[in-house]
Amino acid sequence: MSVQASGQDAAATQGAARPGWVGRLRRSEGATGWLLVSPGAILIGIFGLLPVLMALKLSFQKSDLLTPDTPWVGTKNYRQLADDPRFAEAIQHTIVYTALFVPGTMLVGLLVAAALNRSVRFISVYRTAAYITMAVSTISEGIIFLWLTDKDYGLVNATLNAVGISSQPFLASTSQALYVIVAMTIWGWTGFAVIVYLAALQGVPSELHEAAAIDGARPFTRFRTITLPLLSPASLFLLVWLTINALQLFDEVYLTTRGGPLHATTVIVYYLWDQAFVQFNAGYAAAMAYVLFLVSVVLTAIQFRLARKYVHYS
């Protein structure tokens, strides 16, 4: 092997004496790097970037996905969005959902992580228990919550009845269904937030806590002034990640309420799917997707801008 390799080396050196383009390419670090990433880059290009660009084109066309005829309609799809009351309703539901889901998941995740950040017996059992909701498939999650919150036969109402509260319709109610989905997704995502916060909590140096304790700081003050600021990078990550996921809520809605009752849980991506694959207005749906994309970009940019002020890396 070594003989062969040195032979190749010699050939390469000879090639360098009269550098052709192949020789130059083989010698450059950049070319090697590009070649190494190219399998991934090509796949992402074909299955990620290309569809994104085709969707952009689609958003300026009228298409039912069925016929090959896709006439250009200019910005009509985007203008139509502005006067669509159902789209406005979907935006409203998405905002309410995001505003509850993101802080909710972060808060519950932080509390659970703080509780798990100690050395007690069987701590790994508790940590696994906290994370296990992430391993539950969305379908199972949907079915579990459907039965838990069933208006007549669900465990939640049975518990409420036991303490003297009358049965609630939950997913069958236009005013409660969205909040049930908030609760359900917080449950599903808590494990993720716990893992992120737990890792960050273990990076908080104990000397700081000891020094503050000697200076007479109470546990709550230490948590607020030492732990929380040092968790801020993790919080920023969760904020951005959970917000993007919240804006794209679909699976849980599709599996439980199908956007109902009476559109009460129709969020943007559910409406988009309905328009594209039930009503066959693919161009209109693509325009909706682009509006959502732009909103996500702007929101993320704002979050990073705010982060400069509130996030401490050390």
Partner: protein
């Protein structure tokens, strides 16, 4: 240096592998498989006993036709349209796909879909032997977009012991909707969390077709005769929806399944007196003693007993003349009377052909396999109307679904809700 060269090679090899893999995929879609056999690719969503049946039939066909290789790809029926659309766009549709009948007007617009009208005229197809409702649902304008694969219809499935406990006579063939309502009320017992009836109330087509059958029985129609305007906001439409309102809102005798997920399970656990459903649910009711009866009529309406059929089709796609012909031949064989009979007796599905369904000894055998299925076969004769074949149907179904759910939830009055849905329908029909 050695390291770098190895890395260079590794990268080059992986790129080559990727390119080759891409080519392999492209080459595979050629018209003939190895050994000179003509390939026919079938996409369907059959599972369990239905899945075993279709797999066995395909194996039998392959054995009897050594020059053809039929292969099967199983995918959820709900999502097969999305997948077919993607495949059509990508230039590699299947040769045969199982598609819901309600998609027919939209399927008719796909250029690769083979118009079957030229084939089914041939005498060996016995096209007229398919039930009228099935043929209607496969026809869009002058095109026939598919061949009936599965047919069903709605009838009352009731829990015999709950009727006995409540002291109510079981449904008879001359029940009116008022009898149905009275029975549902008596079967409802809040203390036992028991309901007389359960209706899917998620506002999808599953909600709508329950109402469609009632609308037709009351003498109404979904659209006017030339499919240019909504007709469901007629007196008949209001009468049918008011009946639903009286039961759901006034009597509270209906479990509103707003997530459309609980129906069969609750029926099987003895919490529901009656379901209006199709034959596919019968095999999921092993724990109760049930009976089946045709839908009630509206007193004073001369429309009589009706029901709605949801016939689904085998749709053939054009992948070149050789594969097209092989696919057409396969579908003709699969939907011939012998195979229809085998399928029906194996799976409990209703026969798609009248010659099979009208055979009394066949019905007896079917009933023995699955109690109640003979009533569903006879109920096929009550399929007198079909959903309108217009490509705006999804928008119409959506508008009607929301109207029905808003009434069921007590948020709107029948006439207002239907008028609003009619407005949406008319806008959609007039290119809104």
């Amino acid at each position: 240096m050695i390291k770098r060269q190895t890395a260079w090679m590794a990268a080059a090899v992986s790129v080559a592998a990727l390119v080759l893999a891409g080519c392999g995929g492209g080459g595979d879609s050629g018209s003939s498989a190895g050994g000179g056999k003509t390939k026919v690719v079938v996409w369907d969503g059959y599972e369990d006993v239905q899945g075993k049946n279709i797999t066995a039939l395909i194996a039998q066909y392959n054995k009897e036709h050594p020059d053809v290789q039929v292969t099967q790809l199983v995918s959820s029926s709900d999502r097969v349209l999305q997948k077919v659309l993607t495949a059509v766009r990508g230039g590699s549709p299947p040769d045969v796909a199982y598609m819901f009948g309600s998609w027919s007007p939209n399927i008719a617009k796909i250029p690769q879909v083979v118009d079957m009208s030229q084939y089914v005229q041939e005498s060996d197809w016995h096209w007229d032997d398919f039930y009228e409702g099935e043929r209607q649902a496969a026809t869009v304008g002058d095109k026939i977009v598919g061949v009936p694969a599965l047919v069903d219809n709605l009838a009352i499935v009731y829990n015999k012991s709950l009727f006995k406990q409540a002291g109510v006579a079981p449904p008879s063939a001359d029940w009116t909707w008022d009898d149905f309502r009275a029975a549902a009320k008596k079967l409802t017992d809040p203390s036992k969390k028991q309901y007389g009836w359960l209706i899917p109330a998620d506002g999808t087509e599953d909600t709508v077709w329950h109402y469609d059958a009632m609308l037709w029985e009351a003498g109404g129609d979904i659209l006017n005769s030339d499919n240019t305007q909504a007709a469901f906001n007629s007196d008949a439409g209001v009468e049918a929806l008011t009946m639903l309102k009286d039961m759901a809102v006034t009597d509270k005798s209906v479990y509103l399944d707003t997530t459309n997920s609980n129906g069969t399970k609750l029926m099987n656990s003895g919490k529901i007196g009656m379901l209006v459903t199709g034959p596919w649910d019968l095999s999921s009711l092993p724990d109760i003693d049930y009976g089946v009866q045709v839908m009630p009529t509206f007193a004073g309406s001369d429309a009589g007993h009706q029901t709605i059929a949801g016939p689904d089709n085998w749709v053939v796609f054009d992948n070149g003349s050789e594969r097209k012909q092989a696919a057409v031949d396969f579908v003709r064989w699969l939907t011939a009377a012998d195979q229809v009979k085998t399928t029906s007796l194996t799976t409990g599905d209703l026969p798609t052909r009248e010659s099979v369904g009208s055979d009394a000894s066949f019905r007896k055998q079917l009933e023995k396999n699955l109690t109640g299925s003979a009533t569903f076969v006879q109920n096929l004769a009550n399929v007198k109307k079909a959903r309108p074949s217009v490509d705006q149907y999804p928008a119409i179904s959506e508008a009607m679904g929301q109207a029905i759910v808003s009434v069921l939830l007590g948020k709107a009055e029948p006439a207002d809700a239907l008028d609003e849905a009619a407005q949406t329908t008319n806008d959609a029909l007039n290119g809104g």
